[in-house]
Amino acid sequence: MESKSTQASPDYQFKIIMLGDYGVGKTSIHQFYLHGKYASTESVTLGAYF
């Protein structure tokens, strides 16, 4: 195994979109999946977040 780069390049990359009405919890689900914790934010994401 070569470990020249600290970050291995992925074999697959997928673009996933999250859709839904405002306030349904798109940001919350995404935050939970990435960081494993629920952050109670009462602010609304404006438009789109990438």
Binding site: V24, Q31, Y38
Partner: protein
């Protein structure tokens, strides 16, 4: 497409949509199909949909039933999960399903690609024989 259609640029060639509604908010459930329709023109035609009913931890405030969600999901031919970012229920399962479906699709595509290349090579070697 109305307000915010410029946002669709970011959705171009998406292979998967996680579509969420709030189980305590019926209007968020009713607009699901409209939401999907508005992105259909920019995503991959076979874009995989996964339906999530979020805020499932709020049992007492729940209005949209599991059965209703499940029915819509079968209409959309999409896997369905009730999730909660607060309690964490269903989130892992939903993403595992998503990754599984994506990997299967990607591998199938790769397989088809290799097969085409292979048959192309075959035809080349055959032509050398003559």
């Amino acid at each position: 497409m109305g307000r915010g259609s410029h946002l669709l640029q970011g959705f171009v060639l998406s292979r998967c949509s996680l579509v969420l509604y709030d189980v305590t908010n019926p209007s968020s459930f009713q607009i699901i199909e409209k939401c999907i329709a508005s992105t259909k023109e920019v995503t991959f035609p076979d874009c995989q949909i996964i339906l999530l009913g979020n805020k499932a931890d709020q049992e007492e405030a729940k209005i949209v039933s599991y059965a209703a969600g499940s029915e819509l999901a079968s209409k959309l031919e999409a896997p369905f999960f009730e999730t909660s970012a607060r309690s964490g229920v269903g989130v892992k399962e939903a993403f595992i399903e998503l990754i599984g479906l994506m990997m299967t699709k990607a591998m199938e595509e790769k397989f088809e690609e290799n097969k085409t290349q292979l048959s192309f090579k075959d035809s080349q070697t055959q032509s050398k024989c003559f």
